[in-house]
């Protein structure tokens, strides 16, 4: 698998990763296990990251797929409309902590804004909270 630097100063990551949005659609045990097997097949094939979001309901499934794979990176996102008043710094911190809990990891490797909160995305305090 080819790799590429993430951003200007980030780690090398595979050019293909696993997008886990659809893993949260069908909540049957069989479908979730199938999603986990698909992710793990991707990791075995050289993918080094998986991407989810607080609004996909796949964070717990991603967490299960990552058990025993500490080197695989996890990316997740905050969806501003899930939080009253949108992307305020406290809401961003709360969202990150909740995602960490659902995924079952100590850290999130990349924390993204799912879509711009028109009132807040460009404010300095928003960017500070994301850091």
């Amino acid at each position: 698998m080819r790799t590429k630097r993430l951003g200007w100063e980030g780690p090398e990551v595979s050019v293909i990763g696993f997008g886990a949005r659809e893993a949260g659609v069908d909540l049957t045990v069989e479908a979730q296990n199938q999603s986990i097997r698909a992710m793990q097949a991707g990791f075995d094939g050289g993918m080094t990251w998986v991407d989810t979001a607080d609004v996909y309901d796949s964070e717990p499934i991603v967490g299960r797929a990552l058990v025993g794979r500490p080197q695989t990176r996890v990316f997740t996102k905050v969806y501003h409309r899930l939080y009253e008043h949108g992307l305020t710094p406290p809401n961003i911190r709360r969202a990150a902590q909740a995602s960490i809990r659902r995924i079952g990891r100590d850290i999130i490797d990349l924390f993204l804004v799912l879509e711009p909160d028109p009132g807040r995305a460009a404010r300095p305090e928003t960017l500070d909270a994301l850091r």
Partner: protein
């Protein structure tokens, strides 16, 4: 339509399928017909019970003193007749409040909770003065002729692009609303605040939300997910307040998968 005598009321309900019991609780402008897709699709795995709450559909109006706790006890009586000891409880909007109150009063009867486009009561989820403003509008609108009632409430029920036949279907259901039932249900919803209950919920809980819901904005789903231990959230893109009618395939996949894995 079936009927059961509960608390002195002849409560109407529909029943389909065989399997673990799953109860569908409609919202306050509707009746059991709003669950048409689920009465068919979920019946493959579950015994599906969809009631007409007292004050809606083919059920009689309740007494003026009826409170949400009375609806919950009435539901317990009905499920005892129609579904046995325990059931998955699926509540939409006002029915979601009822599901929470049912859990408060009869926790051992609940196998899992599915809360759909709902609230922790208006008082528990909406900032002042919205609950009282909404209630005032409902009390006023309860006396509207059916056509005006439908034209006032139908548009807010859907997301971005509902199919015309679905609009027509819900309009037909809403046009048969009960003024007394609507008034009492609206009052119960406006005054309710279940925030104390949410952290105590100990059954598996799924939240299903249309992300274009304007009556119960998706931030309320975030509020409930934060408050209910280990609650899961499935968001249906583009759907509004009646996501079960607007996006039944997506809705059914979430509910079927969740309830069958509990």
């Amino acid at each position: 339509m079936l009927y059961a005598e509960v608390k002195g009321l002849s409560v109407a309900y529909q029943r389909t399928g065989e399997g673990p019991a799953l109860a569908l609780l409609h919202g306050f402008t509707q009746d059991s017909r709003v669950w048409r897709p689920q009465l068919e699709s979920l019946s493959e795995l579950f015994t599906v019970i969809a009631w007409d709450a007292p004050g809606a559909g083919q059920s009689p109006d309740p007494p003026e003193a009826f409170r949400i706790s009375d609806w919950a006890d009435c539901l317990a009586g009905l499920l005892g007749v129609a579904a046995g000891d325990r059931a998955h409880i699926v509540g939409l909007s006002w029915g979601g409040l009822l599901a929470q109150e049912f859990y408060r009063r009869h926790p051992r009867r609940v196998r899992s909770l599915v809360l759909v486009d709902t609230y922790a009561g208006w008082k528990g989820s909406l900032p002042e003065p919205i609950p009282e403003d909404r209630l005032a509008a409902c009390l006023r609108d309860a006396s509207l002729p059916p056509e005006e009632f439908v034209s006032r409430y139908l548009p807010g029920m859907f997301g971005e692009s509902p199919a015309p036949e679905v609009l027509e279907e819900l309009a037909g259901i809403m046009s048969e609303f009960h003024p007394i039932g609507f008034r009492l249900m609206a009052t119960a919803l406006a005054r309710a605040d279940t925030r104390d209950l949410l952290p105590t919920i100990q059954v598996p809980t799924l939240l299903v939300w249309g992300d274009a819901d304007t009556r119960s904005p998706i931030a309320i789903a975030g509020q409930l997910r934060d408050a209910i231990p280990d609650a899961r959230l499935v968001v249906i893109p583009g759907a509004g307040h009646v996501s079960n009618l607007e996006a039944p395939d997506r809705f059914d996949a979430a509910v079927r998968g969740f309830c069958s894995s509990v």
